[in-house]
Each structure stands twice: as structure tokens, then as C-alpha cells.
Symmetry: C2
């Protein structure tokens, strides 16, 4: 029996943001592997084995998924958002590269999903409507000095920015430093969007001038979007729209 491995993005939370391609892959799976809250989003059914696992065991989880596929199972590794953006796809390929050569012959596919920054941007308007960058602020897997370098260069390039994993209990100081660097480098009151738990019942969207941002505005469920120097706010009765124009004057 020939197995398969699909690495699928479930989107930010709402079922209406899961692509039909991912829904079909889950319907054909024999095994679903992933972080506990993401596996919890997959409905149980006869013939499907769920394998929830804890956070920070991405490589073990990836090896397990590859072993199951090698044994002939049809495995779906679930990520939130898009699996290729600060999620499970890179971990699976790291495990694949380090593992037995036979794993490379497996039928492996990555299915894209709606990543958090784009769901958050849509809620706010179009803040990423011009050139932008995406930075994972967690320094679990890279030195803080590299994050700081990237923040300064991104500000100099006048990119809009999206930050994943801005703040955790174990590293509260990283986001404090991030805000200091941006307030210093950007030197203006451009809009910052704190988007928490987008498309879930807990969703909150808050638009704050950069000069007034404080670290407590973000937690690990927040994606933070920072405008470029050209980003604009359209005030109105409800929440304002934030957008970055397509044009930059010469």
C-alpha cells in the first residue's frame, strides 16, 4: 500500500476560510497529525485516527507523520493559517532531509491556506496593499540580533510589516524592543493593527498610532501589522479602514 503525506493549512480559524482542497484532503485521510488545538478543528469519524501533540515538538511530530506515510497511511499534517508561513511545512522538510532516503519517494504535497496576516489585513482594509515583509518575532530559533537587523532594514526599505508570534510570557521583552526600534526608526505615527484571533469568536482588531503602541497590546494569538510611511486611515462612523496605496510618488 502506498501512503501519502499532505501538509495542509486550516486558515486562521473560521470554517468558511478552509479551502475545498483541504476539506477534501481531510475527508480522504486515515491519520491527522498536529498541534492539539489544530487537530481539535478536525471532526472525528470512523476510519480516521487523530494524533494531537503538544507545542514545540514539531520535528518529532514530522517524523511521526513521515513514518505513518511510509507505513502506507494517508496522513494530513494540519497547521493553522498557511503551512508554509511560520508553520509545519518547514519542519516536515527538515525531518525529511535528515531522515531515511526512502522518505524522499513518498507522495508529499503542501496545500496552502489563508495565513493570519492576510486575514487580519482584510479585516482592517488593505494595509499590506503595497510591498511588505513578514517577520517571526520569536527568538526561539534565531538570535535576537538578526530580528533587530531585519526590523531596522525593513523600516529603511519602507516596507509595511507583519509580525507573527510577537509576544509570549517567556519572552515579553522582545516585543518591547521591537516597538522601541520601530518608534525610533520610523519616527512617525503610522497606523499599527493588533489583530487577535481573527475569524474566531474571540476576534479583536485594534488600530493604534505607532507612537502610542505598548507591548501589552499583543499576545501570542495576535498578528501585528505595521503600515509603511504611505499607509492611510479612512475615518468613518465604525472602525476605520487602513490601507496602503498602490502608488508611491517619485
Amino acid at each position: 500500500m502506498t501512503g501519502s503525506l499532505v501538509i495542509a493549512g486550516l486558515g486562521p480559524g473560521a470554517g468558511s476560510l478552509v479551502t475545498p482542497e483541504v476539506t477534501d484532503a481531510l475527508a480522504q485521510a486515515t491519520d491527522v497529525v498536529g498541534y492539539i488545538p489544530y487537530v481539535a478543528r478536525v471532526a472525528a469519524r470512523p476510519g480516521l485516527t487523530l494524533h494531537p501533540s503538544d507545542n514545540r515538538v514539531e520535528i518529532d511530530r514530522s517524523r511521526h507523520a513521515l513514518e505513518l506515510a511510509s507505513a502506507g497511511r494517508h496522513v494530513v499534517v494540519v497547521s493553522s493559517g498557511d503551512p508554509g508561513v511560520f508553520a509545519m511545512a518547514s519542519a516536515v522538510f527538515e525531518a525529511l532531509e535528515a531522515g531515511p532516503a526512502a522518505w524522499r519517494d513518498l507522495d508529499i504535497r503542501v496545500l496552502p491556506g489563508i495565513t493570519a496576516m492576510l486575514a487580519a489585513a482584510a479585516r482592517a482594509g488593505a494595509p499590506l496593499g503595497h510591498d511588505f515583509c513578514a517577520i517571526n518575532l520569536s527568538d526561539n530559533l534565531k538570535p535576537w540580533s538578526l530580528i533587530e537587523k531585519r526590523l531596522r532594514l525593513a523600516a529603511e526599505a519602507d516596507f509595511a510589516m507583519a509580525f507573527y508570534n510577537p509576544r509570549s510570557k517567556s519572552r515579553p521583552e522582545g516585543f518591547t524592543k521591537t516597538l522601541q526600534i520601530l518608534q525610533e526608526s520610523c519616527g512617525d505615527a503610522r497606523p499599527v493593527i493588533f489583530a487577535r484571533a481573527v475569524s474566531t469568536p474571540d476576534e479583536t482588531i485594534r488600530v493604534v498610532p505607532l507612537t502610542e503602541c505598548t507591548p501589552d497590546m499583543a499576545n501570542m494569538r495576535t498578528v501585528v501589522l505595521v503600515g509603511s510611511s504611505t499607509t492611510r486611515i479612512i475615518a468613518r462612523a465604525g472602525a476605520p479602514f487602513v490601507y496602503t496605496p498602490r502608488s508611491v510618488d517619485t
Copy 2:
């Protein structure tokens, strides 16, 4: 009658990549507005008026959509990919900001979609698995000097990069210069992915070392992904996997 305006992303091409949220919005629309090939992806039905328009009339098209919504219609503006990434959402907000104050009270929503760079990345593996940036290489709406500055800073920041609109018949020299800048700034043979017409019958994916890239490898239907200095290739019998590891060594 109260109208509404939805700016919806159709994804890169395949129906299996259209979110249920967007499918539902199209089912409820009275009018669909957009660039000819994107409107052609929406099935005609009684009660739905299709308004296809040509390229490079984004602001006129946006005004038209806002006028229809003001008149009580339920309008969907369709974009390919995600409407907030080098697509229609910014144009609609530009028209909104410049238009009558009453437009600001309209019910306006942006529905995210699978943007081309993430569909392309998924096909190749996980090349955007670490910090990355997205740059529109068209200089229709910004000076070339700004594009060049961003390319050099992005290389210095060691971002993976995604390029939209790399090359058109009217501006063939921009992508030539882009490759020269990257070959000079990066100084290595990191993988570059040329992904054309992803998820359509015309899809082609080509992985080429940066040192061997030539301008003719891209056209306006191509998204180009450039690895960071840490991006790796996993060779195997079929097309190789390209991925950027989550970790950067200190």
C-alpha cells in the same frame, strides 16, 4: 435598499482554492465587477450582472463598484489571489477616500484569498518558511529607484523574497536589472523558483540557481520566489523540494 460591497479574492486559479466565504458572497451578489479574466471565472446566473473591464482602469472600476453599492446593489469586486496583495482592495480604498463622504457608510468587507506567492511556495515545498518579503516589480506606480533600494535592503536583511509582476513586454528591462542586483548582492547560487499560472492547466514550476537565472524565465503570469541564504534543496527522483528552515544558527 441598503447595498453592500465585497472585495473578494478568487485565489490563483483552481476552484478548489476558492474559500467557501467567497463562494457564498458570489452566490448572494447582484453584480460582479473586475478585470475581464477574473470575472470570467464567475458563473453567470439569473439575477447576476457581470461587469468585466480592462486592465489598468482600477480606479474607474472601483468608483463604478462603489456607485452600484450606493444604489443598493450587492456588489462583489473580484481579484485573483488575495485582494489585499497587489490587487483590487487598495484601489477600492483609494476611490473611497477620494469619493463622496456617504460612501464611507457603506457596508464594505474584504474577503481574503490564497495569494499567488503562497500557492507557488506550496508547490515547491516551503521556500517562504522563514522571514520573507513581497515586492511588486512593476514600476507603473512607483519609481524604479525605490524598487532597487528595496531589493538591496531585502538582500542585506537575508529575507526570502516573492516578486509579483516581474516582467511585461513594455518593461522587459526591470527584471533584467533585478536579477543583476540579486546576483551581485547575494553572491551565491541560492534557489530561485519560477512559478507560472499556479493551479491552472498551464502551471509550470522551475527551480534554477540564482547564478543561472535569465530574464526570459519570467513573464507576467509568473511569480518568482528567491530563497534566503539558508534555503535548501532536497533532491529526489521527481521535482526537488525547496524549503527554508525555521532555524538560523547564532
